[in-house]
Amino acid sequence: MKIKRFLAALPGKLCLLIVAAVILIFFSNDFGLVDIQKTAIVLAVGIDRDGEDFALTAQIAVPKGSDRTTGGTSSVEIEGRGATVPDCIADIYAKTGWVPKLVFCNLVLLGESAVQADVFSCLDFFLRNEYIPNSCQLAACEGSAGEMLSSQSAIDDTSALALSKLFSDAAKKSGYVMTTTLREFAVGYYGVSGSGYMPYVRAQTKEGGSGGADSSGGGTGSSGDSEESGAQEQKVYSAEETAIFSGGRLAAVLPREQTFAFSLLEGNVYTGSFQADGQTYVVLKNSGSVGLELSDVPMATLSLELRVQLYGTREASPPEEIAKSMLTPEQEARAEEVLTGYLSDLWDSCVQTGCDLFELRTKLYRTSLAEYGKWKDSILSAAVKIETSVKSVS
């Protein structure tokens, strides 16, 4: 009787099993199987222009040993050349037999030659390709992006990982790095403002650091040659400057102070510090905004409101002052003056280069189509009012 009942229920159970199996196959993602022998996991790419052609350097992750002394990620850099960026990728495939897997590519570094022309001739491929995340970071660098990626970092075996530390959220809160993703940059480029920004990376040789980090575990150092790697200079990267773009071309490189002012306007800064007259102040609360008033003529307003604390001085202070860390009214006024100067310089840089960094055209467009038609060409030369308020907090 039991067997009969079981047999009667069998087709239904079988169907359920088949359905479960089908769903499993459908959502399996090939069970995550990746043939590591044939696949190159690209951590970062550097793009340079060579006349009309492109040179793309892919930094490919190479797993090191799993024991405590050799664990971590090493890398190898492979360069591909071609008439377009996908041509370069195909060139890498042809040279190595590795299929470049860009789904983990979190950094696109653009060399000096790449940013002189419209950068979307380089980035176009990354927007088209469904297998590259639009959340990858963009950065410009001095010199060649390929050389930058191939350089030996003093702080990490892999330059891309060292660079990604510069673009962390914590670094962003310091106010001295303005990061951007491919999506954000593309939105700015294709929007009515036609402008954008990205961090500008420089590399400095570490003093007394010519020995190189012993990153050649497994026989593949950063340059792909362990002996050469040993002799390579160690580099320390900085991204405290910001490259601003208009129409996809590099318009200017903002110095450290203007980068900080821009961060403050964006409201990014928390526990970032700035200096005035030998005093260092730490920002504990930051609100910033860019407004646009449309009366007879448009007027832009850059507003900053900060709560700061005295963070350090060049001279010894009594314990009571250290305990409070308050600013005197004179110090507050001086801090406001310094920040107003930074903002003024930042505004001038944008006006001179025609970069709509503050998205004034976008603001105008969203407010009124009629006003946009009237002022879109002259909005960047609008009058500006800078309002800075620095208040001390104990």
Partner: protein, 357 residues
């Protein structure tokens, strides 16, 4: 066995909106730009009205075929039923193409082989061979899953969305609105999808307006999704196909938590599988109603219909864009016109009398 009216409401509020998340947002953004909400608002309003009509029709508690057979005879009923079947099969093709593209692009890191989508048809063939009333239990499961997926994706996306991007209102003008309405017709046939269910659930007082309100509620979530989508991608919305699977990617917490947004993406993709199979399921059951030739008929019809669709999908493997252009372009009127004609004519002839049988 009959569906519960609750299950119908679950479908309208939580399952139906999910079918519009794959290609509709970028297609709409291409035509209507930042005014993308208004064409969809119009479509939702029309569908809600048609759903009200279909649910009124269901007051007679007889299937469409039974109603037709009672008045115009078996041959006439078969002809009308076949026309409805062809219409449902036509509506089923684009969701299939969308599903295939979604699976190939989102669930794989590189371009996979064509065959990866084929298992869908095994599931669809099984589903479509089951009585329509079984879908009620599926909707009971899918509705919370859909809410979970949608809520998760929206929660992860709102922080990155600049809702000011949908301003200024009316920037695309009348051409943007009318173009948006035309372009989105291919996605709005939910009222017609309910026709095979007529007579398969008990009509309870007020179900018609409750159904319309539930659909409007689901539509409101869809509108919020579209606003968030445009807020995240703004001027590059046009190139953001499979938007629902990408919007949440920018959530800052993912760098710490990992891609947990995949939980929500998978939940919605799972719901989409059943939504995609629904038109074929309805078509199979309509034919089975007209040809009561044994209990194996639905299974045979299901295998046949899904086999043909699988073959068509492979045949048109590289023609997704052409299919999309055709369905949303020159013949955009087919789905709204035929769908509305079926519903309104049926309501005109059979909608007045109640509990006649």
């Amino acid at each position: 066995m009959k569906l519960g009216s609750r299950q119908i409401l679950f479908f309208l509020a939580a399952v139906a909106p999910v079918g519009k998340l794959i290609l509709l947002p970028p297609q709409l953004a291409a035509v209507a730009g930042n005014d993308l909400l208004y064409p969809v608002l119009a479509q939702i309003a029309v569908q809600a009205a048609l759903i009200f009509c279909v649910l009124l029709l269901s007051r007679r508690e007889r299937t469409v075929y039974a109603m037709l057979e009672g008045s115009i005879g078996g041959v006439g009923a078969k002809i009308v039923t076949w026309a409805l079947v062809l219409f449902l099969l036509y509506t089923s093709f684009m969701p299939l193409v969308e599903q295939k593209l979604l699976v190939q692009s989102i669930f794989y890191d590189t371009i996979p082989s064509y065959i990866v989508f084929a298992p869908f048809f095994l599931l669809a063939a099984y589903l479509c061979s089951r009585p329509l009333a079984c879908t009620g239990r599926i909707w009971d499961i899918l509705a919370p899953l859909s809410l979970f997926g949608m809520a998760g994706i929206l929660l992860f996306s709102v922080g990155e969305a600049d809702y000011g991007a949908i301003l200024p209102v009316g920037a695309a003008g009348l051409p943007g609105f009318s173009g948006g309405v035309m372009r989105t017709c291919a996605w709005f046939f939910d009222a017609a999808l309910l026709l095979p269910f007529v007579g398969r659930f008990d009509y309870k007082k007020g179900l018609a307006w409750k159904g319309a309100v539930c659909y409007l509620a689901g539509g409101a979530v869809l509108l919020f999704f579209l606003a968030t989508f445009y807020g995240v991608f703004s001027d590059i919305s046009v190139i953001q196909v499979f938007a629902f699977a990408k919007m949440s990617h920018f959530f800052a917490g993912l760098t710490v938590l990992g891609r947990i947004d995949y939980l929500f993406i998978f939940a919605l993709a799972f719901v989409m599988v059943f939504y995609t199979a629904l038109p074929v399921h309805g078509a199979v059951q309509l034919v089975a109603d007209g040809f009561p030739a044994g209990k194996w008929l639905p299974a045979l019809l299901s295998v046949g219909a899904n086999g043909v669709l699988l073959a068509l999908l492979f045949f048109f493997n590289f023609d997704a864009d052409n299919i999309l252009s055709a369905v949303t372009g020159n013949v955009f009127w087919l789905i709204p016109a035929i769908g509305a004609a079926f519903i309104l004519l049926l309501l005109l002839f059979y909608g007045r009398r109640r509990h006649e049988n």
